[in-house]
């Protein structure tokens, strides 16, 4: 299962990329599994996606919590708390 993960704002800058693809063997993966995989990509990743950091998660453009189960072709996005308006 391939999952596209987008990054915005401070996370995009910290990871020096605006998206990555995460591949899983098997199904029933959750957002939390994606986070675990991403934290292994390096210090900036482990730091910014630490459980104590307040980042937001969207799946298919809806904000969700990390216990959401993913389907093939889902679009995940990770970003800081929003500051528009």
């Amino acid at each position: 299962m391939k999952i596209k993960v987008l990054f915005f704002a401070k996370l995009r800058e910290a990871f020096q990329t605006n998206q990555v693809e995460v591949t899983f063997i098997g199904s029933d993966n959750k957002v939390s599994d994606v986070l675990i995989a991403l934290r292994k990509k390096g210090e900036a990743w482990a730091d910014e996606l630490d459980e104590n950091k307040s980042f937001r998660i969207a799946v298919n453009q809806e904000m969700v919590t990390e216990d959401v189960t993913l389907s093939e072709a889902d679009e995940i996005a990770l970003f800081p708390p929003v500051t528009g308006g």
Binding site: A9, A77, P80, V82, T83, G84, G85
Partner: protein
């Protein structure tokens, strides 16, 4: 269109006229305009860059407008939010609401701003004399939005 995300500026007077003239039953128009200030947390702001999540932004704004229409007896609402580089005194956001009587449009307009501030994927980066920095989310915005959640439960 109910929501617009754009780099260009907007004309509040024209937008208001367009929204209210559709409907001769409109008696009240509440609006809010957010403006770039030249000062934030004590530092001079020379410019602001607004990033967003194309697609999700429009969708979340439309959801917020639908929710306002469910909650209050309003006729129409419009949200325009700018992205890209903005300077002090530039307009950032416009929220317009029309209704028969004023109470509904006031409440819906404030609700739209409060929800937009916590739910719509925009991020501000400030350029100051001390360098660039991402604006931190305010606790006061989270609690402003939570007031409406509470109200719904009552």
């Amino acid at each position: 269109m109910t929501v617009r995300v754009q780099t260009e500026d907007f004309d509040v007077g024209l937008e208001m006229l367009a929204l209210r003239q559709r409907n001769p039953k409109v008696g009240a128009v509440a609006s809010f305009v957010g403006v770039v200030r030249d000062l934030n947390d004590g530092d001079d702001v020379s410019s602001l860059t607004l990033e967003h999540y194309p697609g999700m932004t429009e969708r979340s704004l439309e959801d917020i407008v639908s929710e306002a229409k469910d909650r209050w007896d309003i006729y129409d609402a419009l949200i325009i939010h700018r992205v890209g580089k903005l300077l002090p005194l530039d307009q950032i956001v416009l929220v317009l609401v029309t209704s028969a009587h004023r109470g509904e449009s006031f409440k819906a307009c404030e609700f739209l701003m409060d929800y937009l501030k916590t739910r719509a994927p925009f991020w501000k980066k400030e350029q100051t004399s001390m360098g660039s920095r991402w604006v931190e989310a305010r606790e006061s915005d989270a609690s402003a939005a939570m007031r409406w959640d509470k109200m719904r439960d009552d």
